[in-house]
């Protein structure tokens, strides 16, 4: 009887210690996971007044509408994802879409970014990217002065 009671007590004690250890390990683990996810501990910092207003935007990352990759504005064509993945990490895709260059000058631009702007070695993707760029963003001849286009006519009231 006494023996049994003693054994039961010991088991209860061990169970209690085990639970405490488990809870402790659990807390530590969640803390560590949190620190990994949010190294700046931003949740615990008071929100300072910021000049940046974050606008919620829900866009399917791969959505294509009328042949345009919506997220970046790039033309959908062979090589699109190689361009998205390698050319829009540092700068906006707008820097690509507003430019028009031939193969030689796109190549020179990539060389310049690799030499001075920390662009990585593109490997096999370089050819795919350059083909995409010269096919979809080639130079357009405008001559010495282009005709005015896109005029929105309106009545001028005095």
């Amino acid at each position: 009887m006494n023996e049994q009671e003693k054994f039961r007590k010991t088991v209860k004690e061990v169970h209690r210690i085990l639970m405490i250890v488990l809870v402790f390990v659990g807390v530590i683990t969640s803390l560590m996971v949190y620190i990994v996810v949010d190294p700046g501990l931003s949740l615990f910092k008071s929100k300072e007044k910021s000049d940046y207003a974050v606008v919620e935007e829900v866009v399917d990352e791969d959505l294509i509408v009328d042949g345009i990759h919506v997220r970046t504005g790039l033309i959908e064509a062979e090589g699109l994802m190689e361009v998205v993945n390698n050319c829009t990490n540092c700068h906006s895709a707008k820097l690509v879409t507003q430019n028009r260059m031939n193969k030689e000058r796109w190549e020179a631009t990539i060389d310049w970014m690799q030499a001075t702007q920390n662009l990585w070695d593109l490997g096999r993707n370089e050819e795919i990217i350059i083909n995409y760029l010269v096919t979809n963003y080639p130079p357009v001849k405008v001559g010495r002065r282009a005709t005015l286009t896109g005029i929105e006519w309106y009545e001028l009231k005095k």
Binding site: V36, D51, Y52, V54, V55, N86, N89, V142, R145
Partner: protein
Amino acid sequence: MKRRSFIKKATLTSITVLVGTDIVFGEMMPSGYTPLALQDPDPFKMFSKDKEMIVLNDRPWNMEAQAHLLDEKITSNKYMFIRNNGKVPENIDVKNWTITFDGESVKQSKTYTLQELKSKFKQYTYQLTIECGGNGRAEFDPPAKGNQWTVGAVACANWTGVRLKDVLQDVGIKGDAVYIGYHAADGHLSGDAKKEPISRGVPMAKALQEETLLAFQMNNEDIPLVHGYPVRLVSGGWPASTSGKWINRISVRNKVHDGEKMTGSSYKMPCEPVAPGDKVKDEDMCIIESMPVKSLITYPKSGAMIDRGKKLDIRGHAWAGELEVTKMEYSIDYGSTWHMAKIEAPSNRLAWQHFSASISFPKKGYYEVWARATDSQGMSQPMLIPGWNPKGYLNNACHRIAVKVK
């Protein structure tokens, strides 16, 4: 293994969960880079800009006005173009902000707090024209690389601050000083903390001009963050890239400053004219100094329709870098005949000048009103796009608007 790589992957996974899709090649992402989905802001709200401003680039931020938005005599913030080379600095600590003067040609290096600069030196206000060297780039053929500015990368606001020359005198500069170069708090796009996005400057003669300011205010208010808060170098009439923002260090050099975008082909023109599309070696490129004569019709907006017999009043601004505009003309027949417009004196040196004219049209139909400014050395704006250059700078061709007479 690979604890670090596990953590990196775990962090990426958490970002992926937030973004809701896989970040392809996320492992190759530069450290310190936040995917766009997590920082996508409304630039018009963020920078207090008018909705009609045109966003050319969102990383880095580049935004230009349209001609009719620049109608004010003194440009307000909402119509002022944004040209950034790197990331806008965040969490600016004004109280502890300092500017250090160093370089080969200072007698000794010296550091000032903002408060010291403001209290120790007299402050001046000037209206100063700042135009991006690449304004008008979009019209070059073959196209030149970079942001495709049309006409709106120019502004003329009031800037208030201390004269750089007063501060340089207090620092003490040696006789061999050639150039100043600025350093600033903006971050490189790649996230590499050792890289500067831009560090340009001007020769001593320009640095010592009365109008060259270390400015704290734009239009009588703190400079907006995106335009250089809390302190900006302003060198009117020169490429806007010489008016460095978020300044924290100025080096007085005994040679031409060799900071980022001072070398290679940046902000340089072929020393000798080249044919369109020619390759030009770096050593054959010369640094742009004063900007060329130029003008903009800011009223009416292109596309105006008026009734036959009615006069059309036009107005706008003209500027000429270091010089003054002495003659302003317009043509409604593609340059066959030119007519004088009224041109006002600048409010101070390096401020743009306002012009106006009242135009009669001989008959109904489609017209273009072309404007042409001439500077004090007799140089006029070309009607055609001027000399092609590899980076597409200094397009000062005449501005024109479309008009219909009914």
